[in-house]
């Protein structure tokens, strides 16, 4: 049986933070069409927000000559997304632990922690300029 609501998309996003909202709206519509629950939608939107802002701001340094490639697919079981920027990449293992006592009062640096916490799988590929994330749909009776 085919799933009419399943879809996959390939977008090229300019290095403008306003573009994040547009991607979020597309992702939200795709999740809703595939009946992801409220908490799953929150988790995916948060992770996409954090990863896309990182790609545009830290990866591409807001350079209008650079863009971010966003590929995502969603079906009745999972959401999966690749976000690739044109920056030099980074090693996520080099990031300080934002929950450490001496880091706690710093105003930034929590995005990767949240991405890893809210998504089912997260992998940084290449030189760290590509992140691949997935979220397995929570069964309806468990999403409360």
């Amino acid at each position: 049986m085919t799933d009419d609501r399943a879809s996959s998309h390939d977008l090229l996003v300019s290095s403008d933070l306003a573009e994040v909202r547009r991607v979020q709206d597309l992702v939200e519509a795709a999740l809703q069409a595939n009946r992801f629950g409220e908490s799953d939608q929150f988790a995916v939107k948060l992770a996409v927000e954090e990863a896309l802002v990182n790609a545009i701001k830290h990866g591409n340094q807001l350079d209008p000559a650079k863009s971010v490639r966003v590929r995502y697919s969603v079906d009745d079981e999972q959401f999966r997304i690749h976000i690739t920027d044109e920056g030099p990449g980074f090693n996520p293992d080099d990031l300080p632990d934002p929950t450490a006592d001496d880091f706690l009062e710093r105003p930034c640096g929590r995005g990767v922690l949240l991405i890893r916490s809210f998504m089912t799988t997260v992998d940084f590929l290449g030189c760290g300029n590509e992140v691949v994330m997935s979220k397995i749909k929570t069964p309806p009776d468990a999403d409360q």
Binding site: L17, A18, V20, R21, E38, S39, F42, A43, K45, L46, E49, E50, V53, P98, T99, L104, E105, R106, P107, C108, R110, G111, L113, L114, S117, F118
Partner: protein
Amino acid sequence: MSRQRITVEDVGDVAVVQFVDKKILDEQNIQMIGDDLFRLVDELGRRKLLLNFTNVDFMSSAALGKLIRLHQRLTQVGGKLVLCGISKDILQVFTLTKLDKMLKIVKDEQTGLGSF
């Protein structure tokens, strides 16, 4: 003229702040909300701030930085910041980052008013 992003109601000496937007996102928006909150402290001399998140259904880590700075500012001047009405999903953002240990978070506005 910039649009209104927060509303402030005085309950005794506590400034109760509600957010107009359901989503606290993008840096420009967060910067403006932060400016409005800091104005309450630095220009209007408010020392007890209760931020009510009941209207908010989405918030990213960019807003956390503003809350941390606001907490630090209020602490410097002998004031206090309390957060209330936070949804289950957003509360996870605070607990995962352990900011629930630093920031005072209570269930609802009534509890918040009694926690200063």
